[in-house]
């Protein structure tokens, strides 16, 4: 049963950091989610939202219980191909919890200012600046205005 009431251990953090790099890998010279050092922030965010913490712990638990990984010395000791396979196994077996884990990872990664800069996002909240749009121009209605009324009249 997924739980929200256990601590995340140092071993978990090693596994988690590696998982983050697999979920969102490095791109060009930009680090992956693990390499960005998001593990601690992700862990803290999970304390705020219990549903997402359940997903996180369920995935970590599944990793620590994976027999194939244990035989090899744990998830961190696997090569990348087998690590990805292990994650896919969890995704298949625990789709809801894995989805919550992904949600938590994306929430952490895509609200990071360094990521915003990389993807060309303004990197600021929508307000107070907002954005500029070209002013309204009625000429765009030139074609639409040519159409005869087509609503149904009722008696």
């Amino acid at each position: 049963m997924p739980t929200t009431d256990r601590r995340i251990t140092d071993v978990d953090r090693v596994v988690l950091t590696r998982m983050l790099d697999l979920v969102i890998p490095p791109a060009d010279d930009f680090p992956g989610a693990g390499g960005l050092g998001l593990t601690e922030r992700l862990e803290r965010s999970s304390l705020r939202y219990g549903r997402l913490r359940s997903g996180l712990l369920a995935v970590l638990d599944a990793m620590s219980l994976d027999m194939a990984s244990r035989v090899e010395g744990g998830f961190a000791a696997l090569d990348e191909e087998r690590q990805i396979a292990a994650l896919k196994t969890v995704e298949t077996n625990l789709p809801v919890q894995f989805g919550e884990f992904i949600e938590l990872v994306y929430e952490t990664y895509y609200t990071d200012s360094r990521v915003h800069e990389r993807i060309g996002w303004a990197g600021r909240p929508p307000q107070p600046e907002g954005f500029d749009l070209e002013p309204w121009d009625s000429s765009v209605l030139e074609n639409a205005r040519k159409r005869e009324p087509f609503w149904r009249e009722v008696s």
């Binding site: 992904i102 929430e107 993807i119 600021r124 070209e134 765009v140 209605l141």
Partner: protein, 570 residues
């Protein structure tokens, strides 16, 4: 050892700005009942301070009635909406979620939607769901009130478009409508007080695709200021309409009707959750019992009660208000309270257009609407029709999580998938006319309760075959438009589950007391001093956002009370 969760409202991460510290529950009460004179017996007791209740309060206070409103939520200070917070996207998924079950604020009641294809969305506050709406302001069509006569389905309304026309205009002025005349999809109407919201590069691009196909489109009517209006700022096109507007550019009734109503003498009691409308031995309403903020039961006496708690909250309250005179719930002799629940089913068809690069720039919605497929066409395999709203792209987090579609995939290919979507997506949201079916219901849940121990509403809703065919058609047509606009990839969601913004039909109006709950003036057939004025009274759903129509209906009902019900006045 257990790690305690961070209490609501406290800083979870080093990246949260200081503003996040004061977001959500720390709401500044603008006006309290303590600062107002509360009548022992109100002429009119309004339950619910949302779109409809506000309109009625304003009109009746103007007409000299003593008005008291009980609202379970609170005043929200617009300065505290999350769009000023750098983590606004996270807050929007949790503390400010449209779904009360996910939001979980103490003011909310839970909803059991396990047996519903669509999740009802609502907000408990002064302003109700106008706090988090996108403020689309289209009107129903004349044909929407005559579906039985025209198409042989459902029932005709006891009122017509023409009956509502002056109230539509009145509401547009109060709420502040941006738009432009000449739309061939609807009847002629008065000028809007403000010009349309600009289309933007993306809106212009998609409009041109509609033009090339010869299909209808028109700038959205919008209760968002395109220029300063009545002391509220103009929109600065920040994007996320769904949270409330820090500039007050998006209209919500806490900013429009309520300040006027209170200036005219209406009394607002917040944190007041009604548990029961009380009745006398003759079955007429005498007021309401409610829980105050401390959880104590209070009573507000009144000569009449106007229920405006939305299409789910209203039947819930009526069903909770059982008495000897009303053993099946208040004004429920027809057995139709809670039946005929209608949503607007939404399809979401998103096109990725490489030629567009910043589709997150500008209001999420309120761009353009197409009503090419609004009216019944016998060549199609469904009756009635649907409309399209064009929606923009979203911020980075919502893009990654997919919105209405599958999230960006994890692992290899993640960045390519994200880059293909971000800034390049536009969406045609198909909004379909749902027809009333008695088996789609709001009832009282036997286990789930709110924080005061009151039964939560339970929703049973299935999508009809007619709606299914309609929605399939909307995806095909949207695909045609988006391909014409140059989309290289199209994603389609055939039914947006978290799309139950519009709650209708659960206390329908009509002339026959055996087939309806209220008459054309929104007055209950069973009891002459109970009125229902929200989306519950809708006979059919139309295929556009219902709020201007329900507000016009509420204003018309209030006009009736003002002119014909002097007996309710002290």
């Amino acid at each position: 050892m257990t790690e305690a969760p961070i209490p609501f409202g406290q800083e979870p991460s080093e990246q949260r700005s200081e503003q996040a510290m004061v977001v959500a529950p720390q709401i500044t009460p603008v006006i309290t009942a303590e600062s107002q004179s509360i009548p022992d017996v109100a002429d009119v007791l309004i339950i619910g301070a949302g779109a409809a209740g506000a309109a009625v309060a304003w009109r009746l206070a103007q007409a000299g009635f003593s008005v008291v409103c009980l609202e379970q939520g609170q005043w929200i200070n617009p300065a505290l909406y999350p769009t000023k917070d750098r983590n606004w996207e996270i807050l929007g998924r949790h503390e400010w979620n449209w779904d009360p079950n996910k939001r979980g604020r103490p003011d909310d009641y839970p909803v059991n939607d396990a047996e519903s294809a669509i999740t009802p969305l609502m907000f408990a506050a002064v302003g109700g769901s106008t706090i988090h709406w996108t403020a689309h302001a289209p009107r129903f069509h004349p044909s929407d009130f005559r579906v039985k006569t025209l198409d042989g389905v459902a029932d005709d309304w006891p009122i017509t478009y023409d009956d509502l026309d002056p109230y539509f205009d009145q509401n547009d002025m109060m709420m502040g409508c941006s738009g432009i005349n000449g739309d061939p999809a609807g009847p002629p109407r008065s000028e809007r007080p403000m010009p349309p919201i600009p289309l933007g590069e993306d809106g212009t691009h998609v409009a041109a695709a509609f033009d090339r196909l010869g299909w209808h489109w028109w700038p959205s009517d919008s209760y968002v200021n395109s220029e300063p209006y009545k002391g509220r700022d103009e929109c600065n096109y920040c994007g996320p309409l769904g949270f409330g507007c820090t500039r007050k550019a998006k209209s919500s009734t806490d900013l429009t009707y309520w300040p006027e109503a209170i200036r005219l003498g209406a009394v607002m009691k917040t944190y007041s959750r009604v548990s029961e409308i009380t009745v006398g031995p003759d079955g007429r309403a005498t007021g309401a019992n409610y829980f105050d903020r401390a959880g104590n039961v209070q009573h507000q006496a009144a000569r009449s009660v106007v229920v405006a708690a939305n299409g789910v909250g209203t039947p819930r309250l009526l069903l909770m208000s059982k008495s000897e005179a009303h053993p099946n719930g208040l004004i429920n002799s027809s057995g139709l309270v809670g039946r005929n629940l209608m949503f607007h089913p939404y399809t979401i068809t998103t096109g990725l257009i490489p030629g567009l690069s910043e589709t997150w720039k500008g209001p999420m919605g309120n761009i353009l609407m197409s009503q090419e497929f609004y009216e019944t066409d016998l060549r199609r395999d469904f009756v009635r029709g649907y409309a399209y709203q064009l929606n923009r792209g979203t911020g980075p987090l919502a893009t990654a999580l997919g919105g209405a579609h599958e999230p960006v995939g994890w692992g290899t290919g993640h960045h390519e998938d994200f880059a293909e979507r971000f800034g390049h997506s536009v969406t045609l949201a198909g909004i379909g006319e749902d027809l009333p079916e008695e088996h789609n219901t709001v009832t009282l849940d036997e286990q789930l309760t709110d924080s005061n121990g009151l039964p939560a509403p339970r929703i049973n809703y299935t999508l009809s075959e007619n709606s299914r065919r309609m929605m399939d058609h909307s995806i095909r047509s949207a695909t045609t438009v988006l391909e014409e606009a140059g989309a290289t990839r199209i994603m389609a969601n055939p039914l947006l589950r978290e799309g139950g913004w519009h709650l209708m039909g659960t206390a329908r109006m009509g002339e026959d007391p055996e087939r309806s709950v209220v008459n054309q003036w929104c007055q209950a057939h069973d009891t002459d001093n109970v009125f229902v004025v929200d989306g519950s009274v809708f006979v059919t759903a139309g295929a556009v956002n219902p709020t201007p129509t329900l507000q016009a209906i509420a204003l018309r009902a209030a006009d009736y009370i003002a002119h014909e019900r002097d007996d309710l006045k002290r």
